[in-house]
């Protein structure tokens, strides 16, 4: 697959989720557990603390399927998740990272 068709494919099929969460050791487990128990693959994942480190931001790259709305609602229910935003696959956070995955 050449690079153009690959990015077209991604534009159709992927979503970037941006989660603001409390920064403590259990949060990642809570979030990814929602996906793994539904055997919903997380294609990309990126976390860094924000500001003074009380909160972090989790970026998830996931395939869009009919369960995505339900996934977002489930994420919103997590006690440690403060906000969830949905972006298109064109969001540059993972695009910029691609050079580290060559």
């Amino acid at each position: 697959m050449n690079s153009i068709s690959r990015s077209e494919n991604q534009a159709l099929a992927r979503t970037v989720l941006e989660l603001d969460v409390n920064n403590h050791p259990g949060v990642m487990s809570h979030v990814v557990g929602l996906f793994s128990r539904r055997s919903y693959n997380v294609e990309g994942i990126l976390v860094m603390p924000v500001g003074n480190g009380d909160t972090s931001r989790i970026w998830l790259l996931v395939n869009e399927d009919e369960r995505l709305d339900q996934m977002v609602k489930q994420i919103e229910k997590l006690e440690d998740v403060l906000a969830v935003h949905r972006h298109g696959a064109e969001h540059e956070v993972f695009v910029r990272l691609e050079e580290f995955f060559r």
């Binding site: 557990g33 919103e76 997590l78 006690e79």
Partner: protein, 560 residues
């Protein structure tokens, strides 16, 4: 006001004080090394009565019984490792039925976490998927926020279980406390959107064949009375899920009883014809809906639930309203006009007349339905009914005249054998003025039989009606109906002498099989105070009917 004098307390003492301040007066558990500091602190509490369970799962269900009977969060405790793993089933059960439970577990000291220390297990990791939220507490100071939060989360919105894992050194850590946090209580729920209420009311007013579908959320919200008012004002035939039984009295003229896998024919047939389904605090569980594509195929759907993730999860709603169901129903009521759908009520009445729930043997106490009805005839609506899981559970759901919310405590979502007896003990401890009857089976009772001694010790007013069909009856029935009568691993060869088992645990027992006048013996047993086991044999071939085959649409019922 004078400045409170700071006290220096251990983490364990803080936990106990916070539980007292929270209003906890009874809790259940089993001690062990990693939770001994908390038990030591608990021993000095004059406010809290600790009930010593004989298996942590029993302790968890005992707490669930308290929570289900009262609606308030209840507490269970266990030590690390096997204590915590034994508790998991009761926690998972609370998750699936949205029961507010706070589980407190001991953990190995922080420095030993991750070393495979004695009785170390990743309780936090194990409990993530079966709790609403969980905590691994990293300092005694944190307990001051974590414990109230645990109660707040358990009780807020859609209730559920919360686990708090506390390392032993955190329990022993000294902290100075000068200000105590307020007890945790349920967060206020945002008001539902007025525009959605108006549209829903208009849809109800315009419907020609509406049905009201009540779920466990109606009970949790304390909205049973409001739901009945809505049904009466809008003249809505009403079905209930297993979890909602009691929300509307079964003998209410608008009640169609339980829907789904073991609902009456008339109930599932009426649903098949409805043009509007008003789902309230219900989650379209597969035991209720059968094959989803065949569930209410002609109906528009109004779905009201406190949990936004339930809306559109199984069935897409035409109007989805997130909010406390009691509040939503209250705001709907004034917008309901006097409906004209006499044809529909007549149609429902004729379905009821043609396809009622058939309860063969209802007058003979030696049959399943007859025994259940005989028990009911000895009691009034103040009695609380718990069940285990199996045929006996479904017969009771069908035949017991449930008329009061929180009268009926059963394991719906997880369907856990072993639930009934410890839950009954918990219900009796929470509401000692009531008679609590646990209907159980010869399979289920053995899954937490050890709690008989807890019942004896606490002298709770629990009557255990053991419907003994010498089999794992529901399995036997499924093998009979769907596996070519290849009966395997569902007929018991050995059978304990349940009378002697009960007596051995200190619980008096009677055997209805041996009584020449079983009705009189039953009446005597149910009016005696204290725990009692009532044994009754029933025929192995008895089936729960009608039955929707697993995976089939609800109108494809067998039997009944």
């Amino acid at each position: 006001m004078s400045q409170p004098t700071p006290e220096t307390l251990t983490g364990a003492q803080i936990v106990v004080r916070l539980l007292e301040r929270q209003g906890v007066r009874t809790l259940a558990g089993i001690p062990g090394g990693a939770i001994l500091p908390i038990y030591d602190a608990l021993s000095k509490s004059v406010l809290i009565h600790h009930v010593l369970a004989r298996h942590e799962q029993g302790g968890g269900f005992l707490a669930q019984g308290m929570a289900r009977a009262t609606g308030m969060p209840a507490v269970c405790m266990a030590s690390s490792g096997p204590g915590a793993t034994n508790l998991l089933t009761a926690i998972a059960d609370a998750k699936l039925d949205s029961i507010p439970l706070v589980a407190i577990t001991g953990q190995v000291p922080r420095a030993m976490i991750g070393t495979d220390a004695f009785q170390e297990v990743d309780t936090y990791g194990l409990s993530i998927p079966i709790t609403k939220h969980n905590f691994l507490v990293s300092s005694a100071d944190d307990l001051l926020s974590v414990i109230p939060q645990a109660f707040r989360i358990a009780a807020s919105g859609r209730p559920g279980p919360v686990l708090v894992d506390i390392p032993k050194d955190v329990q022993n850590q000294l902290v100075e406390v000068s200000n105590w946090p307020d007890p945790g209580c349920a967060d206020p729920v945002p008001a539902p959107a007025a525009e959605l209420i108006d549209r829903a009311a208009a849809m109800i007013n315009a419907a020609t064949r509406p049905i009201l579908y009540l779920g466990g959320g109606v009970v949790h919200s304390g909205a049973s009375g409001t739901a009945v008012s809505l049904a009466e004002k809008a003249r809505l035939p009403t079905v209930m899920t297993l979890m909602a039984l009691g929300a509307m009295p079964v003998d209410h003229p608008l009640s169609l009883g339980m829907l789904g896998m073991h609902g009456a024919r008339c109930t599932n047939l009426a649903l098949d014809e409805c043009d509007l389904l008003i789902a309230v605090g219900a989650r379209f569980d597969d035991r209720a809906t059968g094959k989803v594509a065949g569930f209410c195929p002609q109906a528009k759907i109004i779905h009201i639930d406190i949990d936004p993730s339930e809306l559109d999860k199984i069935k897409t709603a035409h109007i989805g309203i997130a909010g406390d169901v009691g509040t939503v129903l209250q705001s709907l009521l004034p917008a309901i006009a006097a409906p004209v759908h006499d044809d529909w009520l007549a149609r429902v009445a004729s379905l009821k007349a043609e396809h009622p729930l058939r309860m063969p043997g209802i007058d003979d106490p030696r049959t399943p339905y007859g025994l259940i009805r005989a028990v009911a005839n000895c009691l009034d609506d103040a009695a609380t009914i718990t069940t285990d899981v199996g045929q006996h559970q479904m017969w009771v759901a069908q035949a017991y005249p449930l008329r009061r919310p929180r009268q009926w405590l059963t394991s719906g979502g997880l369907g856990t054998m072993g639930f009934g007896m410890p839950a009954a003990i918990g219900a009796a401890l929470a509401e000692p003025e009531r008679t609590v009857v646990c209907f159980t089976g010869d399979g289920s009772i053995l899954m937490n039989v050890q709690e008989l001694v807890t019942a004896a010790e606490e002298n709770v007013n629990v009557k255990i009606v053991l419907m003994n069909n010498s089999s794992l009856g529901l399995v036997f029935q499924q093998q009979t109906l769907f596996y070519g009568e290849r009966i395997y691993a569902s007929k018991f060869k050995g059978m304990p002498d349940f009378i002697r088992v009960a007596e051995g645990f200190g619980v008096p027992a009677i055997d209805l099989d041996q009584e020449s006048d079983p009705l009189a013996a039953l009446a005597r047993a149910l009016s005696t105070s204290g725990p009692m086991l009532i044994h009754a044999s029933i025929a192995m071939h008895e089936q729960v009917l009608p039955m929707v085959p697993p995976g089939a649409a609800n109108k494809e019922m067998i039997g009944g």
